[in-house]
């Protein structure tokens, strides 16, 4: 088969050479974000258990949560939560059969990425104020 001259015609799209369109990338990231934010929820539930239990568990949980590592986990999870929030709202429109045109889906993808960054920064500013 390898010796067959296929001429100069284009090959069918292949996963390794096919550039995913933006709506496909934002859809995959939505799944990843939904799973990733659980790191933050786990950390917060550990922090709450520590607060309720007190003693060494509280020292450990509070130190971890308020460390730079805990801050990064919580900030990353906040972004993932806002991203999942916006992409989930887009899914309501998809389910209703709206916004499925290529150009509309491309625009909503940009809106989701930009919106999630804006909402995360807004949350951070409100938190720090």
């Amino acid at each position: 088969m390898a010796d067959v001259n296929r001429g100069n015609r284009p090959l069918s799209p292949h996963l390794q050479v096919y550039r995913l369109p933006l709506p496909a990338i934002t859809s995959i990231v939505n799944r990843a974000a939904g799973h990733a934010m659980v790191a933050g929820l786990l950390l917060l539930s550990f922090w709450l258990v520590g607060a309720a239990a007190g003693g060494g568990l509280w020292d450990c949980a509070d130190w971890l949560t308020r460390s730079w590592f805990g801050f990064l986990v919580l900030l990353g999870s906040a972004w993932a939560l806002w991203y999942h929030f916006l992409a989930g709202i887009r899914h309501f429109f998809y389910d209703a059969g709206e916004g499925l045109e290529i150009e509309t889906a491309r625009k909503s993808s940009i809106a989701i990425v930009a919106g999630s960054v804006v909402l995360t920064l807004l949350s951070l500013i409100i938190y720090l104020l």
């Binding site: 659980v38 539930s45 607060a51 309720a52 709202i89 899914h91 309501f92 409100i126 938190y127």
Partner: protein, 130 residues
Amino acid sequence: MRYVTPRKAAIGMGASHSGTAHHWWMTVSSVALALLTPSFLMVMGTALQLPERAEILMYFTRPYPAIVVALFMTLGMMHFIKGTRIMIDDYFEHTARKVAIILSTAFGWVVIAMTLFALARVQLAFAQAV
């Protein structure tokens, strides 16, 4: 005697034998979680700002923070369990799929139990002190 004919019982169930139940549950829980998200972030943000453990405990004796966190964590992790199920069905097969479903379900409920335990303990300690 069953009054529902086999045909009537099968209609609308599709290849999954469960129809759109999963998708509809995800839709309902996402609406609830979307509405709860700003409140949850505000409550946890407020709690994280409190420097002393005693202040944090007092904050969670109030109904609003306790109910928002209990609702968001319970619904959120149930949404997670059903959500990972779709990812697991896409990427895993056979025994690996079964193990992954068990692990994700167990993990989700452990997080729910941890949160509810913490909140309940704070309420009980508060009730005893009053």
